[in-house]
Symmetry: D2
Subunit: 336 residues, 4 copies
């Protein structure tokens, strides 16, 4: 008996990826796509927005009714591709109606009320849920994900950044007195599907943005347990993030120790591919659910390069991976 | 004594090119940049919108006052990068104040009142000016341009299409019973500088649009004097148009005759480069004021490939070329 | 019991797509990847060439031995991604050893000895096989494909061109006295995986090539049964072909007749998606096995736009589709 | 009387830019373009390789004769776009014949014999010239450039890296115990004009390369006088370098001090544009001779973003800037 899955906020790039994945998933049944009540896309088929989905998924983008009870009761699990504040307010209704929530917004990622006011600019109305929310960095929190009904799927930049750094930090290999420097370049889909001058074809080239003030910095620092310098960039491509991370190793740390650290945490994690040699590139991961990691060292410094598809391992695929874990399925089910 | 030139509608891509060209022009002095009164860009320096212009041209984008008399009186010539209907209404004020007008919109390109209602969706309020307007296809109408104060600079697609076809039509080499087929691909800058989903980086790939109903079709057909099938496409690049034109030759027409036809009209036209061999590409013309033309024939059919930078020969550079002609300067002054 | 499938010429872009598809195919087992004996890639894992395949398919690229008997005997079916002349000579060995052949080169596409000399520049050594080869345009030749052991998978441009035109020609809706004009733009992967200046990143923009002399023109004309004007272009993207086709309709042909013609041939063909409205774009088909078709008409002319991923419906996916048909499986098995 | 300038190694991307600049330069006369004797491009017009140069510069690419004396005697200045070892050996001949040399290779950039063996893999045959060579970082070495006949134009990455960092280092604002981290992304033209799989359109996405072993690292470190971590990347664009530099400030350093440092060295340097606010992007500098610099600070850390066109400020334009300085012309002559 397939579990009924719905997507709220289905008109965006992440929503479309969720629709595609869930359509093919052997254990989840895509039972409905929803958009906000006043969306210009309401009642359109998702395949009019995304022609690549024609005949694959032609479900309508249903406008959310005011009373969500029926929708929540009829679904086993819901993916939220909604704005942060919207997600914050949707979650309790679904949880109360026994619908598991996989939220792709930032609304439940950090267990701190003040965080949302400070970095997202809104007052969180459901701080009581922050404690029960589990941070959906799938390779690291599987045990907790298995027992929660509220997964806050990790952000795109935070996923690749943490997957790259966390084994070294956990194993105590980094000298974090010198802050790790994360330089990441994201494809334009990271900005979402909307008309904006910044995302306009002729305006995009390659530039840094959000320098010293991007909200993924505190998300990364909180969950890593150490401060970092994080500089995101917008690149002239559609999908993918490449993160180049420079850090200082503790004296005497060998490449062998680094390899063992990655192997310890990822040897049995099929969606993290640690390179024996060479470094990942965007083309290695675009359109795929993997996070690829490679590294090089010299004179007590390490350069780690991590890559992922921001819409997949950085969003939709990781959300489904978390749902697979929650239901006790193989974590890659429907993903590879 | 330099002629004082101003640009109205200076915030768009064409406006920025005009600002750059006029800044370096040895005979025109860039005396002012203007935007519509309620533009969000009003009073900003143009170089905040176009960082490439920093230190080259940092003039402010002045909001147009209600009364344009003073502006018109203080300028010798004005370039309009405004919307069609706006241009239609601006022209008389400037002409009355002895300011020459080089309009880059479609407002004065065709001498027919009904044309604007049918293809541009507005009623032309100044039909009396249509007769005095000269169509700014510089290589073909230089004599008329020399004596008018109102030049309606040719559209981007029409420029490359007509420059490619006109010599063969004028010399009677084409069998126009079979309509010439113009397939053209434009870079995204052709859609202008504005936030729109269609121009959004992730939405652009390669697609036909405006099939059988683009308003450049009647512009081309009118000025060529023969009907054509024109299919524009949007491509994933910023600048340039490549037009691939298929036509039937009259029986017995030789390559030599075709070469002579092009030579007859363009031998002394420095901004049209007819290829001895090979065919032009976008890279041959981007960022340059040229229109490049090449052709091949077989079995009484001809494929002509024309290429130009849509913002330059298809807009700003041709406008300045027309102004050069109007003032009796070398037509390439300030352009190469 | 899965059928053992091998890929000869597996290092190219099409080979990599075949490796990916066959790895996931529920009825075919990928039993081996081969490259030419002296290939620089021999004995490497395919995932060193294509990092996106890491952990998905890490099979080695085995150098072909001189005696192919054992390889042929151990395989049920073989896909050839080899050069035309190589394919021509490989086919008999495999057929003699009861291995079905799906050739992606041009070596068996046209039943005419002189064709290869004229358009491919080599003398075909196995003309006796040309008669038994079936042209692998899957939607049109399924009955013949079911009973042959030698499928000559249709070329990339010919697939989208014929799928777009054939229903109208079969139903007698076109006035073919006026040659259909096919303007097509292909991504650079169509040129294959090799170092060449033409495919070099900085050299690619948008240009026509092979004008009046591309070998896909006779392939299209032969199988359509009518001459066409075919102008291929190279575009600045990696994958996909967009074909814009202009043709004259017979007098009085209605849009309804055209829709019925497409429906007649494609209503039950899941990999051809005919648009009710709108026109396809590259993004609708990239990374997918579909060919999308849309059209518009005016004044007895029709513009048809067809789109496909050149490496999938134009190569690897269509090859597997043919193999599915040959084995009596659902034609989309392993493809969507 | 114009100075006669020639370009040796004129077929590459830098050579083409030099040809374009020198053609328009009011004081230098482009007197000849040369390629190596056995180049496949020998005797072709440069505009057959670079169609954008048609009618602008159609000079032939002359094969270098064995005896260079005549060529050297007839030129006042020569630009070398040749391979490192070739440049190393060409320089003495030209210098002996009173021809000033502006070498764009790495052959004379560092005054250390062992440097070439270690990082460039060849034994320098003319170490005696290393002492007289002046490093062509134009904004910093103008005084020395004025009096030398051998300018070793700075490399592309080193130019933007040093222009960004040097004022802060000179003013003692950085805590260089923590190595500055330079992450830079270059367009593909940086790899030169040649057929290579790495530069092939379909192979390029975004990736780090040369990690911890790129030869621009020692060039930067030598001339900065402090070690740095330098990680170059290849991006999917043709031209431009964006360098994102993270460094630790000495305690208490204010933004005001940083601004003063930049102003001190660049206030009168027209080709370096320091941003009052905001950060540069590739589009701000492509096709232009500028190096743009912006910065942000937080908690004693600074992020500096520098951008340039790698073929212009990073090569051809800086070479001509050095030549302008050498001859006492305005340093931007012929460049803006």
């Amino acid at each position: 008996m397939a579990q009924k899955a719905i997507v709220i906020g289905a008109s965006g790039y992440t929503g479309a990826e969720l629709a595609r994945i869930l359509t093919h998933h052997p254990e989840f049944e895509l039972a409905g796509l929803y958009v906000s009540t006043n969306s210009a896309d309401a009642n359109k088929s998702i395949s009019t927005l995304y022609p690549q989905l024609k005949t694959i998924c032609d479900l309508p983008l249903q406008p959310l009714p005011e009373d969500l009870t029926e929708i929540a009761q009829n679904a086993d699990l819901a993916f939220f591709g909604t704005a942060h504040e919207v997600s914050a307010n949707l979650a309790p209704v679904f949880l109360q109606n026994n619908c598991k929530v996989f939220d792709l917004s930032g609304a439940y990622r950090v267990n701190s009320e003040s965080f949302y006011q400070e970095f997202y600019g809104f007052e969180h109305k459901h701080p009581e849920l922050l404690k029960q929310a589990v941070y959906g960095l799938a390779e690291w929190n599987a045990d907790k994900i298995k027992t929660t009904d509220l997964v806050a799927v990790a952000g795109c930049y935070p996923t690749v950044s943490q997957l790259s750094l966390k084994p070294l930090i956990e194993e105590g290999l980094l000298d974090v007195n010198q802050l790790p420097v994360i330089n990441a370049v994201s494809g334009v889909s990271g900005a979402g599907r909307k008309a904006s001058l910044t995302s306009s074809f002729c305006e995009v080239s390659l530039n840094a943005y959000g320098v010293f003030n991007h909200r993924h910095q505190p998300e990364i620092a909180t969950h890593l347990g150490t401060d970092v310098i994080f500089t995101p960039h917008l690149g002239n491509f559609k999908r993918g993030i490449l993160a180049t991370i420079t850090a200082k190793l503790k004296a005497g740390v060998s490449d062998e120790q680094i390899k063992r650290a990655y192997a310890k945490y990822y040897a049995n994690k099929p969606l993290v591919r640690v390179y024996e040699q060479g470094l990942p590139s965007i083309k290695a991961v675009e359109f795929s659910p993997y996070c690829d990691i490679g590294f090089a060292t010299k004179n007590n410094h390490i350069i780690i390069v991590g890559a992922e598809d921001n819409l997949l391992k950085g969003a939709a695929a990781q959300a489904v991976q978390c749902a697979n874990i929650r239901y006790g399925y193989n974590e890659v089910l429907g993903l590879i």
